[in-house]
C-alpha cells in the first residue's frame, strides 16, 4: 500500500484549516474548566475541611470533575461539524471524492485526522485532571472519579463518529432517523449513576466506540452512489 506523503500532507492541511480554530477553542475551554475545577477544589477544601471533602467524595458520591461532563461531547460535535459541515455545503464532498485517492481512503484519512485531534485534546484534559487529582487526592479517589468520567470521553468520540455519519448523509429523512439512533446510542455514555458505577460497562462501551469509528463510510457511500 503506497502512501503518497505529499498528498496526505495536503489533505491534512485542508482538514487542519477547517478545524484549527474549533480545536483551539475547545482545548482552551477545557483547560479553563479544569483550572476552575482546581480552584474549586482548593477553595472547598479550605472551606469545609479536607476530611469532610474526602467524606463527600467517598461516601456521598461527590464528583469534583462533574463540570467536565458535556465538554467531550461538545468537542466531538464541534470538531465533527467543523470538519464535515463545510464538505456538505453545496455538496462539496464531491470535490473531496474527486481527488486522486480512493474515496473510502480519503474519507477515513479525514476521519483519522479529526479523531486524532480530538484524542489529543482529550489527552491534554485527562493529563491535567490526573495532575490536579494527584495533588489533592489519593489514587483511590482519583481512580473512581476517572472511571466516572471516562464514559464521557468515549461518548465524545462516539459523538464525533455519529455526527460525521449524519452530516454526510444526503437524504434529510435519514439524517433525522440516524440522529434518533445516535441519541439512543450516545445517551448510553451519559447515564446518571454513582461514582465509579460505570466500571462493568467500560469494556463494552469501548468496543462500541471503536466499532462506530467507521460508520461514516456508510453515508459517504450513499452520497457517492447518488442517493436522493
Amino acid at each position: 500500500m503506497q502512501i503518497d506523503y505529499t498528498m496526505w500532507k495536503a489533505i491534512i492541511y485542508k482538514e487542519w484549516i477547517k478545524i484549527r480554530w474549533t480545536a483551539a477553542i475547545f482545548l482552551g475551554l477545557g483547560i479553563l474548566v479544569l483550572i476552575n475545577i482546581l480552584l474549586r477544589i482548593r477553595h472547598d477544601i479550605l472551606f469545609v475541611d479536607a476530611t469532610n471533602y474526602w467524606y463527600n467524595v467517598l461516601f456521598r458520591g461527590y464528583n469534583y470533575a462533574s463540570m467536565l461532563k458535556f465538554l467531550p461531547f461538545l468537542a466531538g460535535l464541534g470538531i465533527s461539524a467543523a470538519q464535515y459541515f463545510p464538505e456538505t455545503v453545496n455538496r462539496r464532498i464531491k470535490l473531496t471524492f474527486h481527488l486522486p485517492v480512493k474515496e473510502s481512503r480519503v474519507l477515513m484519512g479525514m476521519h483519522l485526522f479529526g479523531t486524532g485531534s480530538l484524542l489529543l485534546i482529550y489527552a491534554v484534559w485527562l493529563i491535567l485532571f490526573v495532575i490536579i487529582s494527584a495533588i489533592y487526592f489519593p489514587p483511590e479517589i482519583m481512580q473512581s472519579t476517572l472511571i466516572t468520567i471516562i464514559p464521557w470521553f468515549m461518548g465524545g468520540l462516539a459523538t464525533y463518529f455519529m455526527a460525521a455519519l449524519i452530516l454526510l448523509e444526503p437524504v434529510w429523512l435519514f439524517r433525522v432517523l440516524y440522529a434518533l439512533v445516535a441519541y439512543g446510542f450516545i445517551t448510553m455514555f451519559y447515564q446518571r449513576a454513582g461514582l465509579a458505577a460505570y466500571l462493568p460497562a467500560l469494556p463494552e462501551l469501548a468496543v462500541l466506540t471503536v466499532l462506530s469509528s467507521i460508520v461514516v463510510l456508510f453515508s459517504g457511500y450513499r452520497f457517492r452512489k447518488g442517493e436522493m
Binding site: 505529499t6 498528498m7 500532507k9 495536503a10 489533505i11 492541511y13 485542508k14 484549516i17 477547517k18 463545510p86 453545496n90 455538496r91 462539496r92 464531491k94 470535490l95 471524492f97 474527486h98 481527488l99 486522486p100 485517492v101 480512493k102 452520497f223 457517492r224 452512489k225 447518488g226 436522493m228
Partner: protein, 294 residues
C-alpha cells in the same frame, strides 16, 4: 481509446424517465458540448460521469475505466468543474493553491497565478466572500494548473457576466488545442459556445435531438422565414421541418432540408406566401430552433 464512451445509458429517478439508451463518445483532443434546457438530463450525465450517480442501466467509460470505479491514477487526469464553481471556499487563494499543489503531481502554478494577478482580491480573502465571477476565475485557474488530460465542466458559464464567459472560453480553447486536451462540457447557456466546442450533443426531455460536429450542424440546420399571404391560414403538418414557430403571418421553418425542397413542399400543399428567406443562425438560434421556445 476514447476519452469518454457512454453506452446505452439509461436512468430513471424513481418512475420518471430521464433518458434511455444514450450513446456518445468523445475522442481525445476534441471538445464536446452537451447542450440542453434545464432538466433535460445534463446534470444526470455529469453525475454519472463523475461516479456520483449509479445509472439504472448502461455505463460510462473514461479512458476505458468504468466511471463508477475510477482509479486514482485516472482521477488525476480528470479536471472537474462543479456547477456553480463550487470550491473549498473556506480557504483563500493561497491556501487552496497550496492544497492542490500537494495533491496533483503535474501541478503547474503559473497559469493559476497569472489569472489570480488579474483578480482584485486581498491576499487573505476567503473565496466564499468573492463574487461569482471571481470565484469562477479561481476555479478556472485551479483547473488549468492541474493540467488534466480531460476536463469535465458542468455549466461553467452559469452566473457569469459576458466578460467572464469570454475569458473562460478563450482560455479553455487555447489550453485544449495547444496541449491536445479533451473537454466535455454541459451548458444551457448557448451564447458563445460555437467559439469553443468541436462537437455538439443536443438533448431534449428524454431524447437526443442531434449529435454531430458543430460546424456540420450549423451548415445543415437552417432557418427559413416564410411570410404568408393569409395570417389566418393553417400551415400544413409535415416531416420536412424539425420545428415550426409561427406568429400570425410569420412562420419560422427549421429544417435540414434545402430551399428547393421547401419550395416544392409549399407548392405541393398550396401554401400561399409572400416571401421565403433563409436566415443566418447562431448556435443559440439553432438550439432554440431545434428545441423550441416553449
Amino acid at each position: 481509446m476514447y476519452a469518454i464512451e457512454c453506452k446505452n445509458l439509461t436512468h430513471y429517478y424513481g418512475k420518471k424517465l430521464v433518458y434511455e439508451n444514450l450513446n456518445f463518445t468523445v475522442e481525445e483532443g476534441k471538445i464536446l458540448g452537451l447542450l440542453g434546457k434545464n432538466g433535460a438530463g445534463k446534470s444526470t450525465t455529469i453525475n454519472i460521469l463523475n461516479g456520483f450517480l449509479h445509472p439504472t442501466a448502461g455505463e460510462c467509460l473514461i479512458y476505458g475505466e468504468n466511471s463508477q470505479h475510477l482509479t486514482p491514477a485516472t482521477k488525476e487526469r480528470i479536471g472537474f468543474l462543479i456547477e456553480g464553481h463550487i470550491q473549498y471556499s473556506f480557504m483563500n487563494i493561497h491556501q487552496i493553491e497550496k492544497f492542490y499543489s500537494g495533491i496533483y503531481s503535474r501541478w503547474n502554478s503559473e497559469p493559476y497565478w497569472e489569472l489570480m494577478s488579474k483578480l482584485k482580491v486581498t491576499p487573505r480573502q476567503k473565496i466564499s466572500s468573492m463574487s461569482c465571477g471571481q470565484r469562477s476565475q479561481v476555479a478556472l485557474g485551479l483547473i488549468l494548473a492541474q493540467d488534466p488530460d480531460l476536463l469535465i465542466l458542468d455549466d461553467f458559464s452559469m452566473g457569469l457576466d459576458p466578460g467572464y464567459r469570454r475569458l473562460f472560453i478563450d482560455y479553455l480553447r487555447d489550453y485544449a488545442k495547444t496541449n491536445q486536451k479533451t473537454i466535455f462540457l454541459t451548458s444551457h447557456i448557448i451564447q458563445d459556445m460555437e467559439r469553443l466546442i468541436d462537437d455538439v450533443l443536443i438533448m431534449d426531455y428524454n431524447r437526443i435531438l442531434t449529435q454531430q460536429p458543430v460546424n456540420e450542424f450549423m451548415k445543415r440546420f437552417k432557418q427559413f422565414v416564410i411570410r404568408l399571404k393569409n395570417p389566418n391560414a393553417d400551415f400544413p403538418k409535415n416531416s420536412l421541418s424539425l420545428n415550426i414557430e409561427r406568429t400570425k403571418d410569420r412562420v419560422e421553418f427549421y429544417t435540414y432540408g434545402t430551399l428547393e425542397e421547401l419550395k416544392q413542399f409549399l407548392s405541393e400543399h398550396a401554401v400561399e406566401y409572400v416571401s421565403v428567406e433563409q436566415q443566418p443562425l447562431t448556435l443559440e438560434d439553432a438550439f432554440i430552433g431545434l428545441t423550441g421556445k416553449y
